[in-house]
Amino acid sequence: MTAPDSSHDEIDPAVIRRVAAGDTRAFERLYDAFSSRLYSLALHMLQKPEEAEELLQEVFAKIWKDAQAYDPRRGAPLAWAITMTRHKAIDRIRSTTRRLHLYEAAGQETGEAATAPDASAETESHEEASAVRASLAALPADVRETIELAYLGGLSHSEIAKKLSLPLTTVKSRIRRAMTHLRQTLGRLRQNPGPSRPLQP
């Protein structure tokens, strides 16, 4: 199993326009560029490969169907696809009662079977990914945990407050702090673009 070269992350909005026009070759290109990212995100959030696979199919079916709805002013194609994947994953998580247990399990299993990278597929050389990981590592552990629960766990701020036994204001404050930090990281990535700029339009 091999992952496509992550430098393909950079997809021009014109490709989306071609997909919207029914160009299957453009769609294949899009799939090859985004599928690993989106599948990894889905797998990380849902923890089950079969569910992640189903979700990936749903996301690409939606991209094929709704490509004309993509607005380049609102972000890069990858950001659009990631947002779509995350929302669909959250819908799935929220449709079950297993949300809290799921992310608790995820916390325990991080780096294990469910989310462990495929050695042959992992693309650690990706500069942006490394920069983001380094940036997240710079956050205090409690702030990082809070933003991960919100973004990847699909928990609401009140659910996070309950899970971490914290006042809601503290949760909100931590989320703001993490988001501000990520925003600064994004700014740095924009100023010093590497060979690829995954989230840039």
Binding site: P49, A79, L152
Partner: protein, 279 residues
């Protein structure tokens, strides 16, 4: 809204965490603040960096195959010339279906409207029924009151008629009670007797208190039997007016008398009779 609040709300919104009034208020603010829109977009993009931090795994190869087959199948279906022709010539059933759909939609809308009107009228009807019930209760209450007032009116009319039929002055008799041997005063006591009411008033002015071990007792002597009827002890009424009544109805009184009895009075006169007034 402070800059900190803006950032906090924009962060939460970008993550899809705002709910209820907070969400509504923020979306209203977004509608009139392009800078806030830009801030949210930036936070959304920044939040997606978290997805990049996840170690990548390749999607299963069969997934690609499945998706591409589904897309190809869809393309073939839409692009097939025969199907396209058939679609062109078979518009009539679709038009009929569309017409039926519109008819259904109109029927449904009308049904909804009538349903709402019916529900409203049923509500009004329930309110009116409750009002009618309340008015019925009020009517019964007033009817009862009217009956009571009419009864009272009848009674009053009877009383008025009775009073009108009477000649009060004829029925009231004046009697002077003359002192007898042993009377504490030499002057008469005066009494008035109302035959109709069987009630009398005795003026006790000038009557001194009785001896400590004695009481003044009033007696009514009916004409028919001449047996004295106890009309009460006068002790407490000394020096004032005493109202007395006959213990039983007396058609005609022969006399009124006062005797000096042992303390507490007697069933029949035991002591000396000190005043007597003949009618």
């Amino acid at each position: 809204m402070s800059e900190e609040e803006r950032e906090e709300l924009a962060s939460l919104y970008a993550l899809g965490l705002l709910e209820g009034d907070e969400l509504k208020d923020f979306e209203q603010a977004l509608a009139r603040d392009p800078k806030l829109v830009a801030l949210v977009a930036e936070f959304e993009e920044a939040s997606n960096l978290l997805a990049l931090s996840i170690p990548q795994r390749a999607a299963p190869p069969l997934t690609r195959l499945a998706i591409m087959r589904a897309i190809d199948a869809q393309q073939e279906s839409v692009g097939h010339p025969e199907k396209a022709r058939a679609a062109a010539y078979n518009w009539a059933p679709w038009a009929l279906a569309a017409a039926l759909a519109i008819l259904c939609a109109i029927t449904f809308a009308e049904k909804s409207r009538l349903g709402a009107a019916k529900a409203r009228l049923e509500g009004d009807n329930r309110n009116l029924q409750a009002r009618v019930t309340n008015l019925g209760v009020e009517r019964d209450r007033l009817q009862t009151r009217i009956t009571a007032l009419e009864e009272e009116k009848t009674n009053l009319e009877i009383r008025v008629a009775t009073f009108e039929a009477r000649e009060p002055l004829k029925e009231i008799q004046n009697v002077a009670l003359a002192p007898q041997q042993g009377a504490p005063t030499k002057s008469n006591l005066t009494a008035l007797w109302d035959q109709g009411r069987q009630t009398g008033v005795l003026d006790l002015a000038g009557l001194p208190p009785p001896p400590p071990d004695r009481d003044y007792q009033l007696w009514i002597i009916p004409s028919a039997t001449a047996a004295p009827l106890d009309a009460g002890i006068l002790t407490s009424a000394v020096g004032a007016r005493a109202i007395f009544q006959s213990p039983q109805e007396v058609t005609k009184i022969a006399a009124i008398a006062i005797s000096l009895e042992p303390k507490g009075g007697s069933i029949s006169p035991q002591g000396p009779v000190i005043y007597v007034g003949k009618m």
